[in-house]
Amino acid sequence: MPFDPVAYAIPVFVALILGELLWSRLRGSHQAYEWRDTGTSLAVGLGSTIAGALTGGLTAALLVWVHGFAPLSIGWVWWAWPLCFVLDDLAYYVFHRSAHRVRWFWASHVNHHSSQHYNLSTALRQSWTGFVAASFVFRLPLALAGFEPGMILACAGINLIYQFWIHTEAVERMPRWFEAVMNTPSHHRVHHAVNARYLDRNYAGVFIIWDRMFGTFAPEDTEDRIRYGLVGQLGSFNLFYVVFHEWIGIARDVWRAPWRHKLAYLWREPGWSHDDSRETSEMIRRRWKSRTPEPNSRDRPVR
């Protein structure tokens, strides 16, 4: 098995969750946590580590196989590490944007957004079905470019570790220079929000620059209270429902849809329906804008 930095970070995750719990209690933030929600988050996290252990070897094997076709092999030179990390983060951005815009990938990612709470335990709601959904394809180009598979997986692990601490309301804003370049709790709160203006924004993993470059950045507006979770809140703490509900929904929709629309329920955006009986994030945003008496610039993506 390749080196997995996430396994070494887990004790730190546990310590930080306990610290945030105590901080929330002392501050009187009674709604910051809910014990059943925390249980679901941690159970999803535990299940994702099991799924990762079962499929991690296959992902590594695929990276090695693709690396065999690379026209050049970069090897383990020191400068390859920062380059690989930045490019891996770009690959993460593309994956994450696809995970919100293509229902097939969304079905695997949706459980990360299923909590109505935004705390460090929410960060652990990771996918069980990422391999089944073929999420690994987004990292294959790095192997084809010549980066060592072990380096790619280590960078991916460090990327995931970085994203843990940004799942908190305990940090309001980081220094301006940091907010300009890095993904932060403020930027990621926007990503987890279901307020119409924030839908499908801030896909970044480590560097927020990708959202600024590709027009998907939205700053947090402290005047607008954030509502976390899903557009259609699950209203359930059931572990298996949280993990598999969207896959079940896809199967049901494909079964019921007319033949010519069946595949569209896999590749179109979440909320799409052939008879317009549901709403996509664009439709929700459009409806919200139409009800806003004086349109302002705050809801526009900012580069």
């Binding site: 969750i17 719990l21 209690r25 159970a43 535990l46 109505q116 209270r225 259609g232 209203g235 439709m283």
Partner: protein
């Protein structure tokens, strides 16, 4: 894989311990709506917005029902210490029995309004005790 089972068991113990700490620290309160203003804000946070023209709160703050200008009816359903917004399908049966609103689509939700429950009922099962 050697060591995988102890690692799994250790993780399970950690999960149970953190959940127990969360419970012990008091993060187990039921959701409660304190005022019409709070309910209005919660309704307005629905996807795309929902602006109530009439709101009825449960006496204990456990839920709320509202109607908007288009005649749509929505309910705030408790879930842990949060609320879930549920828009009812047009004509969804609502009955007032013993002064308590029962919504067929949301059987777990009971709303005991401070006002007249019959105002919200739309089925024949409404009684006159509201």
């Amino acid at each position: 894989m050697p060591g995988a089972l102890p690692q799994l068991l250790g993780s399970l113990v950690a999960v149970v311990a953190i959940v127990a700490v969360t419970w012990a620290l008091g993060f187990r309160r039921a959701a409660r709506i304190e005022s019409h203003d709070e309910a209005r804000e919660l309704f307005s946070l629905a996807p795309g917005g929902f602006e109530p023209v009439a709101i009825e709160l449960d006496r204990q703050g456990r839920a709320a029902i509202a109607r908007d200008r288009q005649g749509r009816v929505a309910v705030l359903v408790p879930h842990g210490n949060q609320f879930v917004f549920r828009l009812l399908a047009p004509g969804s049966p609502i009955s007032a029995e013993g002064g308590v609103l029962a919504i067929r689509a949301l059987p777990a939700v009971k709303i005991e309004p401070e006002g007249d429950a019959r105002v919200w009922a739309n089925t024949d099962s409404s009684d006159n005790s509201g």
